[in-house]
């Protein structure tokens, strides 16, 4: 191990986050190198001071009582809740009107999907709701990257399957990132692509509990296309025209083959 390697590992070392093998290697280097040893000492001091001197704010006693009352009121049986619930001032900055409207919108879409499609397509409702929610909550991506070599490993350890990730920039659908979702009760990858100013959510989840049919649908301005391939279910949802979504799905199927 040389000084360069050491420098990069020193912070993790002072945090006690190195694996044993690397820790022993690094300690051997520190014994032989006064410059790195001095750096390590500086980091240790810094860590100690940060731990001891950065103030930790404690919840004020009155606030603690309020939360306690809130938690107990929420836990009380529904019939008693109305009577026992303390006066709670809802935070002003959470725009509840907006949230309610979003919820109503999602429910409306879910309802119309549910009525026009078979009831068994619960996952379709969920996917469309997720798509709408991802746009409205500004939570489109947990990992923002146009590089599939960044997006794909991000899912490792978060999912028990590995979603195929392709950047379709050359076909006009650049990869924008990904996030975790739940579809049909299982963890799913949501890959996000851009089409001009619109977003496409591509949901991918294992077909273990049943393959989705190849299906194209359109409701309320949202287009959806699903297929099953290589033991995985795919469902693309977007507000772009059906022909373009179809083109996206065809490109994706080809590359996943």
């Amino acid at each position: 191990m040389n000084c360069n390697d050491t420098r990069l590992l020193l912070e993790a070392y002072s945090d006690g986050e190195l694996d044993l093998v690397r820790q022993l290697e690094l300690e051997a280097h520190l014994r032989a190198c006064p410059a790195c040893a001095l750096r390590a000492k500086g980091l240790a001091t810094r860590r100690e001071v940060l731990r001891d001197s950065v103030p930790r704010f404690a919840a004020p006693p009155q606030f603690r009582e309020k939360i306690q009352a809130l938690v107990r009121a929420e836990a009380a049986p529904a019939t008693a809740a109305g009577a026992r619930r303390p006066a709670i001032s809802w935070p002003s900055f959470w725009n509840f009107g907006g949230a309610a409207a979003s919820l109503a919108f999602v429910l409306f879409i879910g309802y119309t999907w549910g009525n026009t499609r078979a009831r068994t397509n619960a996952w379709l409702d969920e996917a469309v709701s997720d798509h709408v929610r991802s746009l409205q909550a500004g939570h489109l991506m947990d990992v923002a990257s146009t590089d599939r070599h960044t997006v794909k490993p991000w899912f490792a350890g978060k999912l028990d399957f590995s979603p195929p990730v392709f950047d379709l920039a050359d076909a006009g659908f650049p990869l924008a990132g990904g996030r975790l979702e739940r579809i049909d009760g299982t963890a799913a990858a949501a890959l996000v692509f851009h089409r001009r100013l619109h977003a496409i959510n591509l949901f991918v989840w294992p077909a273990a509990d049943g393959s989705v049919p190849t299906h194209r649908g359109a409701e309320n301005g949202f287009n959806a296309e699903s297929w099953s391939q290589g033991g995985l279910n795919f469902l693309a949802v977007s507000e772009i025209p059906a022909t373009e979504l179809d083109q996206f799905a065809a490109e994706y199927r080809n590359r996943a083959n």
Binding site: L50, R56, F63, I67, V71, E74, W94
Partner: protein
Amino acid sequence: MSSAGVIIPMEAFAPNEPPTFEQLMLPHLDAAYNLARWLLRDPHDAEDAVQEAFLRAHHAFDRFRGANGRAWLLTIVRNVCYSHLRQNRREPEAVAFEDEVHGSTHDPADANAVAWHEVKSALLREALERLPAEYREVIVLHEIEGLSYREVAGVAEIPIGTVMSRLARARGKLQTELLTLTGKGSPHEL
């Protein structure tokens, strides 16, 4: 001051009954408040956010399976705080870019540039408040709450490698701020 979490004695729970929301989550109220307070930098906003987080956590409690109630609650607190920060657009959003571009080749600042034992708590607080939210967050979670890299990764929803590089970068920037505040240097001298 580093707290390794609140240990809840198992005897506190009645036999054969799953622990209640109150038993599992209320012990982490201080951790929740501390994170919100650091992220939002305002005591009233912090209270609002924690209250909202407890409501959300309560409604989602039937989906809580994990053993780590503190990390779970802190994840919700964090998300509530970020919604608030986004709505108020008080924060720059350049951090993710820095992680991606410089994360792997980052050379940590020399911690010896600051006489750490002479740094007063109030100064440290001022310096930390000047950092972007993503940097405050990893320092608060790791240094104050004592979360491991893995736990920080879970709460902040970033890979462990990013936790490591972001933490190094955050502490480096904190040093720069401290030196600037004490008039002992500019960022260029580090």
